[in-house]
């Protein structure tokens, strides 16, 4: 069955369940319970099938789904007593990257992440999660602060990439990203980065020179967007499906290439279907990872971080 048909069937089924639920009175509920649970089970199976069958470009669409949790959603669920901190102390406050401090499972942490908007107005303010140099510089300022106060850093990555604009170039977009990579390589505190949507190119990497890099199961991490790749290589952005496949941007391929350390499973249907469940999966992984990283000395941690990136690359020496 085609994906579209599957989607339609699922929708019909869900509607049937909802209408059944709303139509029956409290007393009648018990009598239709077996039927209801049977319907719900078939809906689950359909959903499972639907999301197992996704093609690379469909995963790109899922990664960009407008209802996915954003960094501020993750913070709301996972971080207690959160205080958002603003500005790069140089030019302005970039709303495409948010950051601050709070408690994760009782430990003070610094949290930084790309922030996409919830609606058009919010998205315009946040440039659809595409940072300007100020964003990277704010991120670095907060990371340096985390280093000073010996707080672990958690980064949530979800950006189409750096903002391609006049001001961004004038104020040194390339330099800002470069300095983040440079400084993160030597930052004397544990860093964990999680790709929660789109891991778009340099804009993503600027928050991802980390001790552990994880991806949620329906996300992508790529050097270029499939559309950009198709338009450069084949002068045809509509061939993005081919590009998505060729670029190998899905979590499984990236795990095999040694780029990421693990995949965090999304709830059935995708992270946007159940924010709370998604956050609980992340909480578990983060808790275990921070506990593990705490056991290393800073010297060992930096050595491991260096080697993690040092070994990436494939070539021959004839």
């Amino acid at each position: 069955m085609k994906k579209r048909d599957l989607e339609k069937e699922l929708k019909d089924l869900q509607q049937k369940i909802e209408s059944l639920k709303s139509e029956v009175s409290e007393e009648e509920k018990n009598s239709i319970y077996p039927l209801l649970s049977q319907l719900e089970q078939s809906a689950m199976i359909l959903k499972g099938e639907l999301y197992r069958k996704i093609t690379p470009i469909e995963r790109v669409q899922l990664a960009r789904h407008p209802n996915r949790p954003t960094t501020l959603d993750y913070i709301k669920y996972l971080i207690k007593n959160f205080i958002q901190l603003h500005g790069d102390r140089r030019y302005s406050d970039d709303a495409a990257i948010v950051g601050g401090i709070g408690f994760f499972e009782g430990i003070p942490v610094t949290v930084i992440g790309h922030q996409k908007g919830r609606d058009t107005k919010d998205n315009i303010k946040r440039h659809f999660g595409m940072p300007h140099p100020e964003g990277y510089r704010k991120a670095l300022r907060l990371m340096k602060e985390a280093e000073k106060f010996k707080r672990p850093i958690i980064c949530f990555i979800d950006t189409p990439g750096a903002y391609p604009g006049l001001g961004a170039e004038e104020r040194g977009q390339g330099e800002a990203i470069a300095v983040n990579l440079f400084e993160m390589a030597g930052l004397k505190t544990p860093i964990v980065s999680i790709v929660t949507g789109e891991g778009g190119s340099g804009g993503a990497l600027a928050l991802a020179v980390a001790d552990r890099v994880f991806m949620l199961s329906n996300t992508i991490y790529s050097v270029i967007s499939p559309e950009g790749c198709a338009s450069i290589l084949w002068k045809d952005s509509s061939r993005s499906g081919e590009a998505a496949e060729a670029l190998k941007i899905d979590p499984n391929n990236l795990l095999n290439l040694g780029i990421i350390d693990d995949i965090i499973e999304e709830p059935e249907g995708g992270a946007h279907e159940d924010h709370e469940k998604m956050c609980e999966n992340i909480r578990e992984k983060l808790r275990m990872t921070l506990e593990e990283l705490r056991q290393y000395s800073i010297e060992d941690l930096l050595e491991q971080r260096y080697n993690k990136f040092r070994k990436l690359g494939k070539f021959i020496e004839a």
């Binding site: 391609p164 004038e170 340099g202 990497l205 670029l247 990436l312």
Partner: protein
């Protein structure tokens, strides 16, 4: 060789190649800097016979099985006469020892894949081991997208190596030549202690076409050119090719003390030797 006529794309005046070569391929009429190969760049920059190349045979593979990448690599090798988009080794400039990396614009636009990342990283590591300064001539269209995420990771790898070199108190001079864009700009190219550029070089992260499409307006004249960047505080200096060698030699001499043993430089500093 030498008898070819070359027309300047900027002013349209035609010169003998032999004459152009004597002026480092800078147009005698309008100062336009022609594109030169890594081989020519090395010849113009270092003391004769001092360049010793490392990792000359390192070659790219096709790690993702990307459509037509192998053919592209073969073509690039043929066109440039070398194995990849960067050449590195050790050299002397006016007697000063340095590690030198030169990117090759004629190899898939100097794009950075695994080999470029590995060679630049090895160059930094060699410089750390031997307490040497490093000079990198950048020329790149950005990341090598045919290597997918592996090309992105070279940005992190090279930047981490630059950090280690810097932490040892050693000098890194980055020279940005036309064009230096994308992933190279957002990694080692912008991590030099001193960053200089050739006149008129295009330097930026996002390409001008992408920006124009995004903001839906024409870009101002001279946008992302070296002169524009100098004005915006993004460069230390613009140096014409004809003065590049002596400028680099001067910078190396000004940092000479850091590569030598403490006792010796103290004596030299006070002129007691």
């Amino acid at each position: 060789m030498g008898n070819l006529f070359i027309k300047c794309p900027n002013c349209g005046v035609t010169h003998f190649e032999g004459i152009l070569a004597k002026s480092f391929y800078v147009c005698p009429e309008c100062d336009f800097h022609h594109r030169i190969s890594s081989h020519q760049r090395i010849k113009f920059t270092v003391d004769k016979g001092t360049f010793k190349e490392f990792d000359k045979k390192m070659k790219s593979v096709d790690p993702l099985g990307f459509p037509k990448y192998e053919e592209k690599l073969k073509e690039a090798m043929k066109e440039s006469g070398i194995n990849e988009a960067v050449v590195w080794g050790t050299a002397e400039i006016e007697g000063e020892s340095t590690v030198l990396c030169v990117m090759e614009p004629n190899f898939i636009m100097g794009s950075m894949g695994s080999v470029v990342g590995e060679k630049i990283t090895r160059a930094f590591e060699y410089a750390i081991e031997n307490r040497l300064p490093i000079i990198i001539f950048c020329a790149s269209g950005g990341a090598r997208m045919q290597e997918g995420i592996l090309s992105l990771m070279q940005m992190a790898k090279t930047s981490a190596a630059a950090k280690r070199h810097s932490d040892k108190g050693l000098l890194f001079v980055s020279v940005l030549t036309h064009p230096t864009t994308g992933g190279v700009t957002a990694s080692f190219a912008y991590l030099g202690d001193i960053i200089i550029a050739e006149p008129q070089a295009l330097i930026g992260f996002a390409g001008p076409r992408v920006i124009e499409q995004t903001i839906n307006q024409k870009l101002p004249a001279g946008f992302q050119r070296a002169e524009f960047l100098l004005e915006h505080g993004m460069l230390d200096k613009i140096v014409p090719r004809t003065l590049m060698r002596e400028t680099l030699a001067n910078i190396l001499k000004l940092h000479k003390n850091i590569t030598e043993k403490p006792k010796k430089y103290r004596i030299e500093q006070y002129g007691l030797e």
